[in-house]
């Protein structure tokens, strides 16, 4: 048999996604175990969870003939089995090899995912390490409670089947022809488990004698019969219904209690009903759906306008009234649709946060620090794309907090703090924005030292006023403190320029608060979704532009005469401070000279560490806009971050505030550079 042919890519992808989920829960559980094992006995359900996770991964891997993954999860399962049976106590050596095992499994999955096959040396090394560990323990008695008819089943399955009657469960053997009776989704163990009521899948393996003809020429016919051994609390007929298979393929395994008895004893039907029905969808499809919805919204607006015109012209016509009514109904439905489509992409930020448990643990171990990671508002929902985009950024911030924020236990004790440092990841909503905060109770930033260093490096002049904005700008500026390692503030710049760039790209902002010796908080503010943002629509020289509302601090009505020109730059007075002002049309290059007369509006925007007044002719309004990328089609367009399509079908460029700041910086260095773009 040639397994590769049978491993349809999408099925392998399913496998990876599912195995990855189990790995993540395994990682979390191991961390939980590590936190408590010294003081408390590990709770049974924790061990049980880990046992089942490895067992399921093993089963999945076996289906695809990923031997290394199967073998590794098998030996890990054996360790949990030993914990479970109290044959072995949890100790540091065990935890270390188990963590190694999780990493090796993850590597192997990544390799499979990258299409490199699963052969990864670390998996085999991990197997050897765990084998060595298991060998070091004398195997104690293992009373043979194997019920009859269970020949060929693994240790876990046999043990669970033995316990089944006590839990009101019975064991069944299901023959599932996957590919015909079961569509792809049901390959997932969890899908089968949902069909079993309170039960669980113990083993699943292809029936080898059923296989031959399948893997030959016709690869579309990938139907294989699997034998699934499982526990359940519901009747054969119910299982048959749930899985859409014939009852004749279901057999009760002898000696595990008969149906009537277990039926009578167990089962509130609500248990099965409450099982969540979740399907996986490629996010690309959601994007397409979103685009389509955007088009419908645009079309709807056009329809509304037309209906409005017709209505005005034919007031008396009853059918026109009906048409208007129908159009209104449609509008409402479209609103609902758009709302739901948006919601499809939202996932709890916990998915992101929980990945950092491991990061923090590893850094803490390696650096000899004691750090706990706590979450606040982890149920906050974010656009899935945003979560993907922001992961690396947050990783930098968490690493920075561990490396440079939290002190060693000795330093902390000397400073009168608890030995263990705390890093808090918090998330929440603020209007149409979400914030993600990285808070540490470490030593804080020495603002004075940073400032001195920046002056020393010639990044700022010594007469510049210290403000938070300036400090953020300095530490997030590329290269700061990366080359020369100076104590205390070294490394804070590492990766921070990446943070800055990423946030600008996502339309977000970053702020920080620090208390020297008291800790530092970085707050990222991000749009709720990457696809939609609130924007201020303005018009300049008869053209419409959208300015992200996130960047807008305030809007002022001005007379252009109030704006002074100092050393070639325009400034205006804002409550006693001077605010640099740019003329939008001039800056973007479609106006030769800034206009100097007439009324206008100054939109005060704040970019990364900058505050700037943008001079425009008129304000049009504020609205939610769907952001369309321009970079893919036009390349870089400095000062323009994308475009949006309004309800009337017109296209409006979206201003990239940081880009505008860069344009001005470029211009003051070299007057001739900017301005060529548009006629």
């Amino acid at each position: 048999m040639a397994p590769e042919e049978f491993n349809d890519a999408s099925l392998v992808q399913e496998f990876i996604v599912e195995a990855d989920e189990y790995l993540r829960s395994l990682d979390d559980d191991l961390l939980a175990l590590e936190r408590i094992y010294l003081t408390d006995e590990a709770p049974d359900d924790l061990i049980e969870n880990m046992f089942r996770a490895t067992h399921t991964i093993k089963g999945l891997a076996a289906m695809f003939d990923f031997d290394d993954i199967k073998n590794l999860s098998h030996v890990m399962e054996s360790v949990f089995q030993a914990f479970r049976k109290k044959e072995r106590a949890v100790d540091e050596a065990c935890l270390e090899v188990l963590f190694r095992g999780v990493d090796a499994l993850r590597d192997a999955l990544a390799a499979v995912s990258a299409g490199e096959g699963e052969v990864v040396g670390s998996a085999r090394d991990a197997v050897r390490a765990i084998d060595a560990l298991l060998d070091s323990v004398p195997v104690t008695e293992n009373a043979d409670r194997t019920p009859t008819g269970l020949a060929g089943l693994g240790e876990y399955a046999q043990a669970r089947i033995a316990e089944a009657p006590d839990e009101g469960l019975r064991a069944v053997r299901l023959l599932l022809r996957w590919g015909i009776e079961l569509r792809l989704g049901a390959l997932r163990i969890s899908a089968i488990e949902r069909a079993l009521g309170k039960g669980e899948v113990l083993e699943a393996r292809p029936l080898l004698d059923d296989i031959p003809m399948i893997f030959e020429a016709d690869s579309a016919r990938t139907d294989v019969t699997f034998e699934v051994v499982a526990l359940t609390d519901i009747t054969d007929a119910e299982i048959g219904d749930n899985l859409g298979v014939s009852v004749s393929t279901i057999r009760t395994i002898a000696g595990t209690g008969d149906l009537q008895k277990s039926d009578a004893e167990v089962c509130e039907p609500t248990v099965a009903a409450s099982a969540q029905h979740i399907i996986r969808v490629d996010i690309g499809r959601l994007d397409e759906l979103m685009d389509l919805t955007g088009e419908i919204v645009t079309a709807r607006t056009r329809l509304e306008d037309l209906v409005g015109e017709i209505k005005a012209a034919n007031r008396k016509d009853e059918s026109v009234q009906l048409l208007a009514g129908a159009a209104k109904d449609l509008s409402r439905l479209v609103d609902g649709l758009q709302d739901q489509v948006m919601r499809l992409r939202m996932v709890p930020v916990n998915q992101l946060f929980s990945k950092f448990h491991r990061t923090v643990r590893d850094i803490a171990r390696w650096s000899g620090k004691e750090i706990q990671l706590v979450f606040e508002g982890e149920e906050t929902e974010l656009d899935k794309r945003l979560i993907e985009q922001v992961e690396e950024t947050l990783l930098h911030m968490v690493r920075n907090a561990c490396d440079h924020g939290i002190e060693t236990p000795e330093e902390r004790v000397a400073a009168g703090k608890p030995r263990q440092g705390t890093i808090t990841l918090a998330a929440g909503h603020e209007g149409n924005y979400v914030f993600i905060e990285t808070r540490d109770d470490g030593k804080g930033l020495d603002v004075g030292a940073i400032w001195n260093k920046a002056v020393e490096q010639g990044r700022i002049s010594s007469d510049e006023e210290i403000g938070d904005a300036l400090i953020v700008d300095i530490i997030t500026g590329s290269g700061f403190s990366t080359a020369e390692t100076i104590t205390d503030i070294s490394g804070r710049g590492v990766g921070m320029d990446i943070v800055r760039k990423k946030l600008a790209e996502l339309g977000g902002t970053i702020q920080f608060e620090t208390e020297f010796r008291g800790g530092t908080t970085f707050t990222m503010r991000l749009p709720l979704t990457l696809a939609i943002m609130s924007a201020l629509l303005v018009s300049e020289e008869e053209r419409a532009f959208a300015i992200p509302l996130a960047s807008v601090a305030e809007v002022l009505r001005v007379d252009r005469g109030e704006i002074r020109t100092i050393k070639g730059s325009q400034v205006m007075d804002l409550r006693g401070h001077s605010l640099p002002v740019v003329d939008l049309g001039h800056t973007l290059g479609f106006e030769e000279e800034p206009s100097h007369t007439g009324k206008g509006f100054v939109v005060v925007v704040s970019g990364v560490g900058h505050r700037l007044g943008v001079l425009v002719d008129a304000l049009v309004g504020q609205q939610q806009v769907v952001v369309k990328n321009l970079e893919e089609t036009l390349g870089r367009t400095p000062g323009i971050g994308g475009a949006t399509i309004l309800g009337d079908g017109s296209v409006v460029p979206i201003i990239d505030v940081d880009g505008v700041v860069d344009l001005i910086a470029g211009r003051s260095k070299n007057e001739t550079v900017v301005g060529g773009g548009v006629r």
């Binding site: 685009d291 645009t298 089609t633 390349g635 870089r636 367009t637 323009i640 344009l663 773009g677 548009v678």
Partner: protein, 177 residues
């Protein structure tokens, strides 16, 4: 370029003609078009659709590459529009009633090309490549795939991939720098 008669402008959509391409693999099908007074052609396979210039509103995008007129809203998608006449440095007169935007696929991108008129769809058996220099006057030879003979004279066949890959990247690079 000598012509026997003035080209007639083709107006209908191309979907019916596309079918033919599949059935006859040996010949090439070209969409021919006018830029100023000269006739050019593209492979029909690159063309998605042809729309009236007057039906679209082009929104200028500041700091876009010089030859990009702006973007249009094509059923909810933003498609950049390039004026081919400006691209080739022809004197661009005001666009008349026959002006069209040809939506083409270049690599993974969709681009709209403004032309003075679309002439016809022709089937030719092969392209000549030797006589390029004199015929491709005004257009960089690097953008020309070959020439072919039609009833009216010669048509210069443009290589869209070349036009919108390297050259454009260079242009954008210099703009960004």
């Amino acid at each position: 370029m000598a012509r026997k008669r003035a080209p007639k402008v083709l107006d209908e959509d191309l979907s019916s003609v596309r079918e033919a391409r599949v059935s006859d693999a040996d010949t090439l099908q070209l969409v021919t078009l006018l830029l100023a007074k000269d006739e050019f052609g593209f492979h029909i396979g690159k063309v998605q659709e042809i729309i009236r210039y007057s039906a679209m509103k082009i929104t200028a995008i500041p700091n876009a590459p010089r030859f990009v007129e702006g973007v249009i809203n094509l059923r909810g998608r933003l498609v950049p529009v390039v004026d081919l006449r400006k691209r080739f440095g022809f004197t661009a007169e005001a666009l008349g009633k026959t002006a069209r935007i040809i939506i083409v696929h270049v690599g993974a991108r969709t681009i709209g090309l403004v032309v003075d008129a679309v002439v016809e769809v022709v089937r030719v058996s092969s392209l000549e490549v030797e006589r390029l220099p004199d015929l491709a006057a005004g257009v960089g030879t690097e953008f020309v795939e070959g020439v072919c003979r039609v009833e009216r004279g010669m048509v210069v066949v443009l290589d869209l991939e070349m036009m919108f890959s390297q050259e454009e990247t260079d242009a954008m690079g210099s703009l960004a720098g």
